[in-house]
Amino acid sequence: MQLQHLLGIEPLHPHSITAILDLADYYADQNRTGVRKSEALAGCTQINMFFENSTRTQASFEIAGKRLGADVMNMAMQASSIKKGETLIDTALTLNAMHPDLLVVRHPHSGAVDLLAQKVNCAVLNAGDGRHEHPTQALLDALTIRRSKGRLHRLNIAICGDIAHSRVARSNLILLSKMENRIRLVGPATLIPAGIDAFGAEVFHDMEEGLKDVDVVMMLRLQRERMDGGFIPSEREYYHRYGLNAAKLSHAKPDAIVMHPGPMNRGVEIDGEIADDLNRSVIQEQVEMGVAVRMAAMDILMRNRRQAATEAQA
C-alpha cells in the first residue's frame, strides 16, 4: 500500500522512513548547491492551512514547495472563515472543490488532520495536530541525527522536557523506537503522560541521571500556551532542574549532540551558550533539514498520487 497522506509516524513502516530520509539527503545536498530549484511538483497546487499560528514551519513548507516548483498558497485560517463559524469539514470541502494537489495542515486538536484527510481527494500532510503528531519534525530530527551520527539505530537518545503536551515528543518517540534506538524520557512527573512506559521508553525525573552516556539530547520547548494551570511551580525552578546547561550536558557522551525543535525559550529549557555552541548544537541544521525532509515527503506523496492515477486509468 503506497503512502497517500502523511498523517503521522505511527502508520509508517521503517522502510518508508528510510526511503523518505534517503530522498531528503539528496535534497539537502541539492539545497546547498547553487541550483536549488527542481520541477518535481511543477503544476501542482499546494495549500498551507494553518489553524494554529506558525512562522517557521509554514515558511519551511512554503520554501520546500516552491523549490519543487509547486504553486504554493498560504491560508491563515485563524483570520478567516472559521471565525465566521464554518466547520473544519466545510472548510475542507470548500478547498477541495478548488482541486489542490496537496494540503499541508496544522490544527490545534488531535485527530483533526485525520478527519480532514477523510473528506478530501488530495494528499494531506500533517504539519502538527494538537498534541498528537508532527511527522515532518520527527523525520527532520531523524535526518539530522543520521547525518551527524552516521546511523539511526542503536543510539541512546534522551527526549527532555514537556513530553505531555508535545506532538514533537510523540512523533520522535515513535520514529526513533521503530528504528531501534533506546529512548529515555526526562521531565517532571506532571509533564510525563500516563501509559508512556508502554511505548518502551525509560522515564527519568532526574536530568543528570537521564542524560548519562546518551548520544543525543533532544530538548523540547516548554509550551506555555498549553499550560492550563500549574504543571510546574515556576520557570526558574524548572530551569534549575530541567534546563540544559553545561553541567548537566557533561553527563552525556562527550560527542553528544543537542537538538531543539524551536522556537527556544533561552533560560527556561536551554542555556543560550549551549544552544549557540557549534560543536554541540545542531539546532540550525535541524532547520535546514526541515526544508529537505518536507521536499522529500511532498515529492513522494505526489509521485504516489500520480502513480495511483495512472493505475486507475489502466
Binding site: E10, T87, L88, I89, H107, H109, S110, G111, A112, D114, L115, G130, R131, H132, E133, R167, R170, P193, A194, G195, I196, A198, F199, D228
Partner: protein, 419 residues
C-alpha cells in the same frame, strides 16, 4: 383490553432466574393465570421476557426536538423492547420545575408509544446552587431526581438536597465523577489516550466521585443510585457501601459493557461517550460485577446528537450515543459470549430498575402488568444506522454484526411493536 395467550414460548423469568418453555396468558393488560380459552398465538419457541425498564434515556423535549422527540423515542423504545422509558432532565431548559415537568410528561402521554416517567433535576437549572422544589415535583410525578452529568460540587448544597429527598423518600441519581479531574477529558488516561493524544482522565476520578457520594449518603441516609459505573477501581467502594447497608444501587451503560477505548480507533466521534470508554480490563470487571449482582442495572444512556455535533474533531465533538434500539442486541453479546445468562440480563434490564423506581413491572408473575417483549436471541443482522427510528443516528454499532432481535413488544397487554 386485549386478552391473549402466548404459547410454546421460552419464558425468561428474572425473579426466579429461570428459562422454561411454557405459555403465558394476558387479561386486562395484566399477566393472568393460564387460560386455554383465550385466543392464542404460537411463538414457535421464541423467547419472552419482561419489558426493559430503561432508567436513563434522554429525550430532547423541551428544547431540541430535532434531535429526539417523545414520539420518535417511543417508537425507538418499542422497537428495542423498552416498555418503560425513564427520561433525563438534562434538556434545554432543564426539567427543574413543576411546569417544565408537566410539559414533558404531557408530551410523553400524548405521543410516546411506551410508558414514560420523568426524572427531575436535583438543583435549579442543574447549576448545583439551590435545590429544586422536590416535593412539588414528586407530587407532579417525578420518579427520581438527578443533575445528570452536572455534578453538584458544593457539598453543602448536595447534603441539604439529599436530606430533603430522604425525608420524601425520593430516589437521587448521582453521576460519580470527580469534576476537577474529569474536566475537558475525552478519553481514559493510559497508552491509547497517550498515543492518540486525547485529553484524558484517570479512572480514579470515578472512584473519587463515588466515594464522595457514598459518604454523603451515609451522612444523610438518602436513597441513592449511581447512574453509571465503568471502572474496576470504583467497585470495592460500592461493595463496602452495600455491605454497610446503605440504600445504594449502581448502574452501567450498555456501551461500557460492550465497547472499550480501542474502539475509538482513528478518532471516531460516535464512540465518544461520557464517561469515556475504558480499558478492556474495566469492561470485563463490569460484566463480572453484573453477574454477581454488585452492579444492579444496565441502562441505555441514550443520548441523541445531531450529525453536525459529531462531525467535528474528536475533542470538540459532542458526547453520547443513541441506544434504545441497540440495547438488547448489544446486551445479548454478553449472553452469546456466555458471560451472562438471559435471566441475569433481564434482572439488570427489567426487574432491578423497576424495583428501584418503585414500579411493579419487570416480572412475569401473576398480576404484573403485561409489559413484555418477544425476541429471538439468535437472529443475526448488520446494523444500518439509518434504519433506526430515533431522529438521531449516532450509534457506535453502525455496520456491526449483532445477534438478537425484538419480534414484538407489549405495553399493558397492547402490542406496540411487531417486526
Amino acid at each position: 383490553m386485549t386478552s391473549l395467550r402466548i404459547t410454546n414460548v421460552h419464558l425468561v423469568d428474572p425473579e426466579h432466574q429461570t428459562v422454561e418453555l411454557g405459555n403465558l396468558s394476558i387479561k386486562n393488560g395484566r399477566i393472568a393465570a393460564d387460560d386455554p380459552t383465550l385466543p392464542s398465538f404460537n411463538s414457535q419457541g421464541k423467547y419472552l421476557a419482561p419489558g426493559i425498564v430503561d432508567i436513563s434515556a434522554k429525550v430532547c423535549e423541551p428544547g431540541e426536538r430535532h434531535k429526539e422527540s417523545f414520539r420518535s423515542a417511543g417508537l425507538s423504545a418499542a422497537a428495542g423492547g423498552v416498555t418503560t422509558l425513564i427520561t433525563r432532565p438534562d434538556t434545554n431548559p432543564a426539567v427543574d420545575s413543576p411546569e417544565t415537568l408537566e410539559f414533558a410528561s404531557r408530551r410523553a402521554q400524548a405521543t410516546c408509544a411506551v410508558r414514560s416517567y420523568q426524572i427531575a433535576a436535583l438543583t435549579k437549572g442543574r447549576l448545583g446552587k439551590e435545590m429544586t422544589e422536590i416535593g412539588f415535583l414528586q407530587d407532579a410525578g417525578a420518579i427520581a431526581f438527578s443533575d445528570c452529568d452536572a455534578v453538584v460540587t458544593n457539598t453543602k448544597v448536595l447534603a441539604r438536597a439529599l436530606t430533603y429527598a430522604r425525608q420524601l423518600g425520593a430516589l437521587v441519581i448521582g453521576h460519580p465523577q470527580d469534576p476537577g479531574l474529569s474536566e475537558g477529558a475525552a478519553a481514559t488516561s493510559g497508552k491509547f489516550a497517550t498515543l492518540r493524544a486525547i485529553p484524558a482522565v484517570s479512572p480514579m476520578a470515578e472512584r473519587l466521585g463515588l466515594e464522595r457520594d457514598l459518604a454523603m449518603v451515609e451522612m444523610t441516609g438518602a436513597k441513592y443510585h449511581a447512574d453509571q459505573l465503568s471502572t474496576a477501581l470504583a467497585l470495592p467502594a460500592l461493595e463496602r457501601a452495600k455491605q454497610q447497608g446503605l440504600d445504594v444501587t449502581a448502574g452501567v451503560s450498555i456501551h461500557h459493557l460492550t465497547l472499550n477505548e480501542l474502539d475509538v480507533a482513528d478518532y471516531r466521534s460516535f464512540f465518544k461517550v461520557k464517561p469515556p470508554l475504558r480499558s478492556e480490563e474495566d469492561r470485563l470487571a463490569m460484566i463480572s460485577a453484573l453477574a454477581n449482582g454488585l452492579i444492579d442495572i444496565i441502562s441505555s444512556m441514550h443520548t441523541p446528537q445531531d450529525e453536525e455535533s459529531k462531525r467535528l474533531p474528536y475533542e470538540q465533538a459532542a458526547s453520547g450515543a443513541v441506544a434504545l434500539e441497540t440495547l438488547l442486541p448489544a446486551a445479548l453479546r454478553l449472553y452469546h459470549a456466555e458471560q451472562l445468562s438471559l435471566p441475569q440480563l433481564f434482572r439488570a434490564l427489567s426487574l432491578n430498575p423497576s424495583r428501584r423506581l418503585g414500579l411493579d413491572s419487570g416480572r412475569l408473575s401473576l398480576g404484573a402488568p403485561a409489559d413484555l417483549l418477544i425476541f429471538d436471541p439468535d437472529m443475526p443482522f448488520v446494523l444500518d444506522r439509518f434504519s433506526l427510528r430515533s431522529k438521531s443516528k449516532n450509534t457506535p454499532f453502525d455496520g456491526q454484526r449483532l445477534q438478537g432481535r425484538v419480534l414484538a413488544t407489549f405495553v399493558g397487554g397492547k402490542e406496540v411493536y411487531t417486526r
